[in-house]
Structures are given as C-alpha cells and as structure tokens.
Amino acid sequence: MRTLLFTIIVTLATAAPAFTQTIAITGGKVYPVSGAPIINGTVLIKDGMIVAVGNQVNVPNDAQRIDARGKIVTPGLINSVTELGVIEIDQVRNTNDVSAKGSNNIAAAFRVWDGLNPASALFAPTRNEGVTTVVVVPEGGLVSGQAAAIDLVSGHSADMVRRAAVAMVAQMDNANSAGTSARGELIGKLRTLLDDVIFYKASRSDYDRAAARTLSASKTDLEALIPVVDGKLLLLIEANRMDEIDAALELARDYHLKIGITGAAEAWLCADRLAAAHVPVLTGAMSNIPESFATLNQRQENAALLRKAGVQVVIVATGGGDVTRYNARNLKYEAGNAVAYGMSYDDALRGVTLSPAELFGLSDRIGSLQSGHEANVVVWSGDPFEFSSQAEHVFIHGREVKEPSRQDLLIDRYKPKSQR
C-alpha cells in the first residue's frame, strides 16, 4: 500500500508540467539578446512560454509577480561543451559514459545521451548558477559520436533531451587517438571516411548484398554520418594548431560540410579565413598557456579577435577545474573574462545564449527572450558575469527550479550554527 501511494505521488509530481501559472518578472533590466536591452522591462510567462517582453506589458491580475527592480534578466545560459550526466566522478570508471569504443576509432553511431544519468548530482549546482541548457558532447577517437542538447530540468532523460543529435563530433588534433601516427594520416583517414559515407549512401543495396568494396567504417557508423555529408548535421571538429584549423576549413569546403571548430587555440591566426567561410568557433578567454606544441599561440583575446574579424563566437568554459562537469556552472566567468580581454559585453552575452542556440538549431525556441519562445529565463541580482551576482530565480520551461544541490546540503550541515 505504501509503495502504491508512493507511486501515485511520484506520478502526480512528474505529470505536473501541465500547469497554467502566469508569472510576471517586472522592473528589471531585460537583455532579450535578440534586441537591445530594455530598462524597466517585463517578461511575462504563461504555460511555460514567454508571451510578452517589453516595457509596456500588461500584467494580468492573477499573475505571480517577481520584482526584478535593480536586477538583470537574461535568457538561461547555454553551455555548449559539457560532459554533464555522462561523467559523474571522473576517476570512478563506472560513472564514465562519454567515450565509446567504436571500431577503427570511429564511433559515429554513438548517441551519448543514451547513457545520460538524469539523477546526476551535478545538474542542480549548474542550473542554480543560471545555466539552463547544456550540450553533452562525446569524446575520443577520430569520430567520437553524436552530441545532444539537454535542458536541466528534473525528471527522466526524455524530459531533459531538448534536441538530439545537435552535432557529430570529430577531431583533427590528436593522431594517436585517431588510430594514426601523423596528422596527415589522420586527415587522410577522415577524407576516406567521408568518401566512404558518400559511396555508401549511393550504393546501399550493393553494400547490403555484400557487393560493395570494403569501407572504413561499420554500417551503423556510415548511416550516422549521412546527415553530415548532406550538410544537415553540424560537424564539430576539434582543431588547435593554425594548420589544423585550415585543414578543417578545407575539408568543409571540399565536402560541403557544416562545421564548427572546438579547441581553436590558434583560431585568431586564421580569423579572416574562418569569417570568410562562415565557420563558427567555440572558444573561451581563460587559456593562454602553450600547453602543447599545437597550442603555442593560445591567448585570452582569441574570442575578441575572432569576433572582431566577423566570426560567430560561442563561448565555452576553458578555465580549468573540471569546467565541463563539476564547474560547468562557471561558463558565466568565461564570458566575463572574454569582456576583460576585449570582447563587447553584448557579444559575450550572446556567446553564451543566442549564438550557441543558433549553432545547434535551437534558436527558434531558446537563447533569447522573445514572445513565443520557451521560458528559460534567469533573474540575476546584478551583472551575470560578476562574482558578486547570484542567479536569484531560474526558470526552465517556465517553471522555477529551486532544489538545493548536494553541495548546498553539505554547507547547511557544516556551517557554524549561528549561520544555519
């Protein structure tokens, strides 16, 4: 009986999304990102959607009001490169689900979100600091697999996955991981693979009758790569050294691929070519160490210089300290450092909201505050990039999320009694 009762409660709780509350966030400085900031603006949310944004919004009498005077209202932040939900504790092997074995160092068919753990303790601290959507990105090999966009709601994986796949992930930076011994060999292997996908797509029936030549990837991997050669699925390529980035651009041109560059340590040295090719770059502003011979010219002005050259820049966390997992929450500080190192404030905010939404094909629903979009909204006590600011209200799908994280519970348990 107790079990049955429990089940009913859980069912009710998870069925709750069909709520019909109207919420008005009033009086704040609103950054819609898709347009100019609005002083003394109102964001009106109904049934999980934004229904009005502006400074002339009529607030219904029954609306729950949130007084945002002196505060900043932005879209929820989007962290574009994370391992949230697929690595809980890095050094505990059984909590690692980010790298597939694949075959021949190719794992294109690997859907990283199939192993997503919606109960991860790392979601709460991330969303409590204003990140509402993350992209979960697979790693390793030559082709790592497919990435997914996840909303940080509580629930099951199906509730969390916003869109999948949002990208195929590959790399040009590490010949060994690709099962090759030289950069040139790696690039050749990628070209052979793409040729094989094109061949496979045109000769499926021959392939199925075993009448086709031997191909460099398995059938499932070849299938998974068809949207990439069709130019429909974004291919994220990790490339750091200037020539690696140029090689990626050449590959995209030759095969008509839609690509984005991750890593991108020396991207500022090819800013004009990236801009001309309309290839977006995912980079941060906190790395300036020549960590390897492929990143000698890494610098903190990378994002600003790329933007100045007209490149679409998506800001991702690079600052060290598990920024793709435990500290995926620190994305806002990467954006703040980008401003400190020359990027305009609006570009930096765009780089963690609308630009990633556009890159991953989500911008019709999230990434900006517009009527008709889903209500992923954050009310900040001040400048979202500043250490002194807190995310005071975080809405995902129009619902405020306020669960304390495991870290919050530990703090409450151990802080001095006078402060409890």
Partner: protein
C-alpha cells in the same frame, strides 16, 4: 634506439661542460696568486706535498645546510609612489585614497598623506587598487612546465612511495612560459612542490617570479624548505601493485618513514654535538625528514578528506612534528575547529571538486566556513591557469560564503591571497601584507581585484617593476617563447 643514444650524448656533454666550468674556477683561483711570479715548470706532485683540502660539507648532515644557495638579486628599481588608490593591506582596514611608497625594495610608507620624494616615480592610482603581491603555496610550475611534454615532466618521482630525498628545485625549468603568465596575474611568490603520487614526495622550493637562468636565481632568500606529503587516493593508486594499495597501507608507510627519521636525527644530533668518532652515514631522505623533526622544514600535506586530516594530525603528534598546512583540504569545512586548535593552515581551491571520490564533498563555501571557525584559510592553485587568477578564485569563495550567510569582508578575503599563505611558508614577517618595512611586493589592479573585469596592471617584486601591462614591448618572454610564440600574443 636513436633517441636513447641522443639522450646519453647530451648527458655526457653536460657532464663535461660542468667539469670544464669547475676547472675554470680552479684555474682562476690560482691565477691571482701566480700573477707576480714568472712562469715556472710545474712541480712534480711528490716534490711539494700540499695539505689535503678540507672535505666538502657533503659528508656530514648539518641542520639548515644550504648546498644550493639562493643567488637572487633584486632587479633594478626606483623609488615609487602610488597615489589615490584603494589599498587592501591584509594587515588592517582598507585604505581609501591611499598612497604607498616603495623605496630600496621595501614598503617605506603607507597612508593617505605621503609626500612624493623628489626622485620618485609617481603613479596615479585613481580608481585602482593596490594589494600585496599574491602568494601561491601550491604550484607545480617549473616542474611540470609548458608545453607539457614527457621530456620536461619532472614533478613526481614515482619510483618509491617515500622519496624524501628529492628536491623540487632540481626539476624546476626557469624558462617555463607559465612563470611570466603567473606574474601577470599579480603573483610574486610561489612554493613549487613535488607531485602527490608519493606518501612523501620530497622538498619544495619557494621562489620569486623573476626571470633567471637558474633556479638558484629565483630562490627566496632565507625561505625554509617545505616537505610534500600526500594522503589518500594518489599514492595508493600509483603503488597499487607493490604497495601501499590501501589507506591503512599509506599510514603504515608514513609511520615507518618517521621511525627511521627519528633514529637518524638522534644519531646525527649526538654526533653534531661532539664531533667525536666517525660521523654516521648520511642519507638524503632521512636528513630531510630529520630536519622536519627539528622544525627546520615545514610540512605541506596534500589531504582531501576530513577523517584523513585528523589521522595525519595524530601521526604528527606521535613523532613530534607539526603540519604547517593541509593542501587541497577539500573537507576542511568539516573539521575547521580541529585545524584551528592545532594551528594548521588550510590551503583550498575555491570551487574545484568532483574529479575523484575524495573530492566529492567539495563545497564553494569551504574557505568561508574554515574562516568562520577561526582556522587559517588560504587559496592555492595547483594549476598554472588558476595561479593567474587567484584573485578571481578568492572572489568566488568570498561571495559563496556570503551566499551561505557567512559575511566575509574584502579585508578578510585579501588575507586568503596574501598573509595567510605567507604564514604557511614561514615568511609572514617579510611578505604578504602592506606594512612599512615589508618587502615591496605589490600589485596594482585596474579595478577591485574581486571583480571579474580587474587585471593586474603593474607588479613589483622587492620594489622592482617586473610587470607592466601597459608596456607590452617590455614583456618578459622566456627563451622558449622566442621565435615560436607570436610577438603580439
């Protein structure tokens, strides 16, 4: 095979170069005596038996021996007055519209009404902030330099769980490009430690962030050595097959080492008191541990979990040494009273955690809770990236404390960056605060250093301006960077 041959060759060449250098010194030494004399045939050895030279000090184990002495010399400096700045002193309340006078390498005056000496360079600090130079008690810069290649990976002597015999300074590469980058973040002093793969990893070295061809030229004159110890997962993972493979194995390993060290200390202290009979055999590892037991070397203990820190405190009591600071101290907030009552510092990250089981209970309010219980909290980096932004790390920790209801002031937070780490290094009388008479290690910030938009604009070490963001042409570029890293980077 070819690679091995090449390596051997290099070593041979190095050795012969050192020999040549040693010979040159000897020749120069004799030359002064020989000048007035006319050339004579060199006497046959048996003809004039000269007295045997006294043995070098290497044969005996002396307290506070200094076989690799600092050759640091302050850089050219001029009297400097910074005016109209907000000064976070780490010694008292913030001074608004403050001035600070740097003269002869020391802080000569601090206050609100200081007249500029005629020869002084005057810097207008309006809208800017002055802090003591930042001190990082936990760095592997130099021993794990950039680029991160095997050839220069010299931070962990993973050949034995107890390597008290190794000294980090013998691994430090002074051309590590991470050093000038850390200086540009306002860092003026750092402790470089061996890694944490061993129970006892070896001696640390305290250095100033200055350009130098040798590590001796960076060494902080008079700084005590530290001893790196490590708890928990790392040693038991590294030595899984040969042991220790458990935490109880770790503890047995520390105790066995201290038992040997105590016996060694007694023998040498007895011999040093009398110099009678043959000296005991010298052992580099036991010598370092004996120096800890004598209080001449400070223990820096990598330890995440609260329960393990409590056990390490008991081991220290069992053998009569002190732990100066726990490093990483992810669970310091659980035992802050214990740290306070034992006068042990806690060097912490602002927000690192979750990368292994023993880091799973990390919280952002760790520093604030440690402080609230009256224990000595300090920031540390363990990272060449983090070392560039320790001010930002402290900002995170300060505001996380406030969010938890613990009102940490900027005057408290600045101490986490400066005077508390200075204490952990035993250098609190020389650096770590803005007080008259202290070394002129100072950073000038473009804005409040707890703002994300603030940058260190100028950095002084012993009164010499070693970094100036407004003058990129004068930027210190290590040898490694020349010709491979773009000038405008």
């Amino acid at each position: 095979m070819a690679r091995l041959f090449k390596t051997v060759l290099v070593e041979v060449n190095m050795n012969s170069m050192i020999r040549v250098a040693a010979c040159l010194c000897l020749l120069l030494g004799f030359a002064t005596q020989l000048v007035p004399q006319s050339p004579q045939p060199s006497p046959a050895p048996q003809a004039s038996p000269s007295p045997a030279p006294p043995p070098g000090p290497g044969g005996t184990s002396l307290p506070n021996a200094d076989p690799f002495p600092s050759t640091y010399k302050p850089f050219p400096r001029r009297t400097t007055l910074i005016r109209n700045a907000t000064i976070l002193t780490a010694a008292g309340p913030t001074i608004a519209n403050g001035s600070i006078l740097l003269r002869d390498g020391k802080i000569a005056a601090v206050g609100t009404n200081i007249v500029a000496p005629a020869d002084a360079l005057v810097i207008d600090g309006t809208g800017k902030y002055v802090t003591p130079g930042i001190i990082d008690v936990h760095s592997h810069i130099g021993v794990y330099p950039a680029p991160g290649v095997d050839a220069n990976s010299d931070g962990n002597e993973l050949t034995n769980p107890v390597t008290a015999n190794v000294w980090a300074e013998h691994s430090v590469w002074p051309q590590d490009p991470q050093i000038p980058r850390a200086l540009a973040g306002g860092l003026t002093t750092m402790q470089i430690l061996p890694g944490s793969g061993n129970l006892i990893g070896g001696r640390s070295v305290v250095v100033k962030l200055v350009p130098s061809r040798t590590v001796q030229g960076m060494k902080f004159p008079g700084a005590k050595y530290g001893l790196k110890m490590a708890c928990g997962e790392n040693p038991k993972r590294v030595y899984q097959t040969r042991g220790p493979s458990t935490r109880m194995g770790n503890v047995a390993g520390y105790r066995a080492a201290w038992i040997l060290a105590e016996s060694y200390r007694r023998k040498w202290d007895a011999w040093n008191a009398t110099h009678k009979g043959d000296p005991p055999a010298r052992d580099l590892g036991l010598e370092t541990l004996a120096e800890v037991l004598r209080g001449n070397i400070l223990v820096h203990n990598h330890c995440y979990r609260a329960d393990e820190m409590a056990q390490m405190i008991d081991i220290a009591k069992e053998f009569g040494y002190s732990i100066r600071a726990f490093h990483h101290a992810v669970e310091a907030y659980k035992i802050a009273e214990l740290l306070k009552s034992n006068n042990i510092g806690a060097a912490e990250w602002a927000d690192w955690g979750g990368f292994k089981m023993e880091a799973n209970d990390a919280v952002k309010a760790n520093l604030a809770i440690t402080e609230a219980f009256g224990a000595r909290a300090m920031i540390h980096s363990d990272s060449a990236l983090g070392a560039q932004r320790l001010n930002q790390e402290v900002a995170k920790a300060m505001y996380a404390g406030r969010a938890a209801g613990i009102m940490i002031t900027e005057d408290q937070a600045i101490r986490w960056l400066t005077i508390n780490p200075a204490w952990a290094l035993g250098l609190e009388d020389k650096i770590g605060s803005i007080e008259v008479g202290k070394n002129a290690d100072v950073a000038l910030w473009s804005a409040n250093p707890f703002s994300i938009y603030a940058k260190a604009e100028k950095v002084w070490i012993d009164g010499a301006m070693l970094y100036d963001r407004t003058d990129p042409n004068e930027r210190w570029r290590t040898d490694f960077e020349l010709g491979v890293i773009k000038e405008d980077n």
